[in-house]
């Protein structure tokens, strides 16, 4: 991997678990959208050829020795990026749902807004039909829960299409939620008086594989995330003065 150069160094990380059917195309699309930007696929100990396909597509691969789940997988990427000295990291999921053509807009927002986190949001265009009925209900529920905690509305709290700057990278490389990390990560940053911004992005159907959140796991998801939000609210002092 090329080592970071300059104050705007960006690394794109792609967490992937058994995504051999999609990850190659995802990497190629990222390289088309951001030709000069290194791409790191974090292989969460897949049992298929995810790592091989990713390498063939031109990505660097960080191979985890055993399955850690999404949070552990993403955090490994954040840790490496932080240790290598990158200033910005954008996460793109390996299933092909995120459209890499939105990467330049997220990167621009990261650099120009000064916000620690930029979320690629599916719902800023006013449309709400980008997801299934049940998941849509879940997203609405978490919007309501997060509104008073964050002190401002968030349209797409479950989006994994997220960019962070070095300040957030430092926090996440030390501590990152392990399961279903998106919502908890948002609360962690907010409680540390960091700021976030949402920019519109496109969402596509999965190229291959299955979602890790099945109907049966949805109930567990809601309880787990609610508990995580509650714990993070208790853990950090939200009244701390804002940095800016």
């Amino acid at each position: 991997m090329r080592h970071p150069i300059g104050p705007d160094s960006l690394l794109i990380i792609v967490p992937a678990y058994n995504e051999e059917g999609a990850v190659g195309e995802v990497v190629c699309e990222i390289r088309q959208a951001m030709p000069e930007t290194p791409v790191l696929v974090i292989d969460d100990c897949s049992s298929d050829c995810t790592a091989v396909v990713a390498r063939m597509a031109g990505a660097d691969v960080l191979s985890l020795p055993h399955h850690l789940g999404l949070g552990g997988c993403v955090q490994a990427g954040y840790r490496l990026a932080y240790e290598l000295g990158y200033q910005y990291v954008i996460r793109v999921d390996g299933d092909g749902q995120h459209d890499p053509r939105d990467l330049p807009a997220i990167f621009r927002a990261l650099r120009e807004s000064g916000c620690e986190m930029v979320i690629g949001s599916r719902f800023l265009d006013g449309e709400e039909n980008h997801t299934s009925f049940l998941r849509g209900l879940g997203i609405r529920f978490f919007r309501l829960v997060l509104r008073p905690i964050l002190g401002r509305p968030v349209r797409d709290p479950t989006s994994g299409f997220v960019g962070v700057n070095r300040a957030a990278l430092e926090v996440f490389s030390r501590s990152f939620p392990l399961e279903y990390p998106e919502i908890e990560a948002l609360v962690v940053l907010q409680r540390k008086a960091f700021r976030f911004l949402e920019v519109p992005c496109r969402i596509r159907p999965r190229r291959a594989g299955r979602s890790s959140i099945t109907a049966v796991k949805s109930f567990y998801y809601i309880i787990h995330v609610l508990l995580g939000v509650f714990v993070n609210v208790l853990k950090y002092d939200g009244r701390r003065s804002r940095r800016r």
Partner: protein, 126 residues
Amino acid sequence: MIERMDRLLNVVTLLSAGLIVVVLASLRRAHIRVEYSVSWLAAGLGLLVLSRSEATLVWLAGLLGVKEPSLALLFVSFSVFLLVFYRFSIIISELKDANIALAQRVAILQYEIESLHEKAKAGQAG
């Protein structure tokens, strides 16, 4: 009533003794580490002593405000095992955190070694 109480005490005695024997056997076969056997041995020993000491049980029942000493014994057993489970939940959580950090470190080191090999190869070719 007294006969039923005796039977319950005997069952608890047997179970406690069984627990101690199983833990000791596991220790001997190195299936459990000494530091993690202490909680189980203490729990087994405590219940064994309690089940053989009726006077203590009656005193405990009075302390807890229950009429039946057997209820006091069940309450103490439940509390002891709850404490042991809680202690092990903390240990498992710490181990999981350490395990994740180690796995990530191994992956990063592996990645750096591969990068160095590639650089060395490129240097030799150049």
